[in-house]
């Protein structure tokens, strides 16, 4: 526990802690809608697709600014969603294969561009490959400021548009009938996913950023049937595991923050899977046993009643 307080007083660790917490919070919130829209792996695809965008942004500008990377990755992410849309609409390839195709070809392109950057004389290119696995420890004040703004915007937008997103998640047809701009809302949600993925890449890396979107939402789903509660819980789970990840990785040398946060989330998922009040494995087992006991009791009663009946007759 002592290490926890010492981390809180270290100004450098404060930034990282704040960054990981915000990241967990905002991906947890947006991940709920992605989960209910059955687009959980979209985050994974977008994270891989962001790589060429980041590389091109770096090649054009020559600087490593998270703002420019956001723009580049955002454009690449939108292209990727259009690509998936085109492939599924104009051919008989299913959406999962379309996602796989887009994911791997964008990532392949990203790797090609990354090696191009490494082989040519761009100044200050060191650390660009850190985006592959993420390095939360390299976050500085300005990065965290951008994360703060982005996550505030996302959380505020989700609060303001809660009703619209709720309708979009559960019954898009009905929402369209009521006159909501479905296509626009859909694009907006996708844009938020892209943004939260991009700010997450720096902390946890391309592969694991999907976990930030998926795992808290799935865990929260075990505890409630109400969307509002689910969004709150999911944000809480995300933030909590961000804190735990930062704390644990600050206690041990060479323990990376991102993967530890993801493992903390997985632990929360495991607990939810076991202990969730109605869907959890334990609750299901108990209900099952109770039903079995009731049934046995009924059968025994029926047997005694019919047995007596037999004697009487």
């Amino acid at each position: 526990m002592e290490s926890f307080w010492s981390m809180l007083t270290d100004p450098n660790a404060q930034w990282i802690l704040l960054g990981c917490m915000l990241l967990g919070l905002c991906s947890g919130v947006i991940g709920c809608f992605a989960y209910l829209r059955k687009q959980s792996l979209m985050g994974d695809t977008l994270a891989h697709a962001a790589l060429p965008g980041i590389c091109i942004a770096f090649m054009l500008s020559g600087t490593k600014s998270i703002g420019l990377f956001l723009v580049g990755a955002g454009i690449a992410g939108l292209l990727a969603t259009f690509g998936i849309g085109w492939i599924t609409r104009y051919s008989r390839i299913k959406s999962d294969a379309a996602m796989g195709i887009v994911l791997s070809s964008f990532f392949g392109l990203g790797i090609v561009l990354l090696t191009q950057i490494q082989h040519s004389n761009y100044g200050n290119q060191s650390g660009l490959d850190k985006f592959l696995f993420g390095q939360a420890a390299s976050m500085i004040g300005s990065d965290v400021t951008i994360m703060l703004i982005v996550s505030l915007v996302i959380v505020a937008a989700c609060t303001l548009l809660f009703k619209e997103f709720k309708l979009l998640s559960f019954d898009p047809g009905f929402a369209k009938g009521l006159g909501f701009p479905i296509a626009l809302l859909d694009q907006l949600l996708m844009f938020f996913i892209v943004v939260s993925v991009v700010i997450g890449i720096q902390a946890v890396g391309v592969v694991l950023v999907a976990a930030l979107l998926i795992t808290p939402a799935v865990s929260a789903r075990y505890w409630t049937d109400r969307l509002g509660v689910m969004v709150l819980l999911s944000g809480l789970f995300g933030a909590l595991s961000g804190v735990v990840g930062t704390w644990l990785s600050s206690t041990t040398v060479s323990l990376p923050t991102g993967p530890v946060s993801v493992l903390a989330q997985t632990l929360l998922f495991g607990l939810s899977l076991l202990l969730g009040p109605r869907r959890g494995l334990l609750a299901k087992r108990l209900t099952h046993r109770k039903a079995k006991l009731v049934l046995q009791e009924e059968q025994r009663m029926r047997a005694t009643v019919s047995g007596k009946g037999g004697v009487d007759a």
């Binding site: 989960y35 008989r92 390839i93 299913k94 999962d96 082989h119 869907r279």
Partner: protein
């Protein structure tokens, strides 16, 4: 000679993956291939830590076990009510995180490069050779991939009928008495094997690309499974050769260029396929309109 070994390794990877990819595409399990290719990482690291050597066959075993564990967990979560793609996401990110943590904690003992895991070092293939009785037998990776290809071809051709029925109509397959679950796990085991033997030389991402892209392109070009496998393998090998040439010209990552070449071939198939292509369908529609 270097060029030859690299192209041979790439073609072997492409062949192994394209054959299995066809079945994955048909069973709508493309993303399970993606998940397996990421989650074998802890298997490789644990096998390395236990055995203390980079003996490929032990790693192959460890990773295949992890591949099956992945599939098992995904199915377990699906049955307990989690959406299928979400359960894929939860499982592979968790296992990949375990792998990254294990590598980071044992950085001194584990001689595995994380970058290499993602995009491979096919250019180094010919340095890691296998000597038997004093004679140089060529790169280890080629032997390993050759063995994997042999296993895949043997099993798929022995049980072709069963695999085919399971891919198109699992219910009918179960009804006629084929152990569907067994063939499911067999296919997944083969995918893990292919992933692992390709891992060191080409990295996780190329494996995913080679599993999904050539098979999808072939799916647009034909309606027959046998032909689809042949076309898929041809596209895989073609993208290996084209990709290597592109990498030579551009001086860029070979694995990345191979995936990009496969993507270009897929786009060509998407546009120009005689039956399912965009252009063909437009023309057909226009002709219909005129005759109307």
């Amino acid at each position: 000679m270097t060029d030859f070994w690299i192209i041979l390794t790439g073609s072997l990877v492409a062949t192994c993956c394209s054959i299995l990819g066809c079945f994955l595409i048909l069973r709508r399990m493309a993303l399970i291939g993606d998940a397996i290719s990421h989650s074998v990482l802890p298997g490789i690291v644990i096998a390395f830590m236990v055995s203390g050597s980079r003996d490929s066959f032990i790693m192959l075993l460890g990773a295949s076990v992890l591949g099956l564990v992945t599939v098992f967990l995904i199915q377990l979560f699906q049955q307990s009510g989690v959406q299928s793609d979400a359960s894929i996401g939860v499982v592979f990110t968790a296992l990949f995180a375990v792998g990254v943590v294990l590598v980071s904690l044992n950085l001194r003992q584990v001689d595995l490069d994380l970058d290499c895991v993602l995009y491979g070092e096919i250019a180094h293939v010919h340095w890691n050779t296998w000597t038997l009785g004093g004679t140089d037998m060529g790169p280890k990776a080629v032997w390993l991939l050759g063995f994997t290809l042999l296993v895949i071809v043997t099993l798929v051709s022995l049980f072709y009928k069963q695999f085919k029925l399971c891919a198109f109509d699992p219910l009918l397959a179960a009804a006629v008495g084929i152990p569907v679950a067994l063939f499911h796990y067999l296919l997944m085991g083969l995918v893990s094997m292919a992933t692992v033997s390709s891992f060191e030389s080409v990295g996780a991402i190329l494996v995913v690309g080679m599993l999904i892209i050539p098979a999808s392109a072939a799916y647009l070009l034909t309606d027959r499974l046998g032909l689809m496998i042949v076309i898929s393998v041809a596209i895989g090998i073609a993208s290996t050769v084209l990709g290597y040439a592109a990498a030579y010209v551009l001086d860029a990552s070979i694995a990345g260029c191979m995936v990009c070449a496969a993507a270009v071939l897929f786009i060509l198939a998407f546009l120009l396929s005689p039956t399912h292509g965009l252009v063909a369908r437009k023309l057909w529609r226009r002709m219909n309109q005129q005759s109307l």
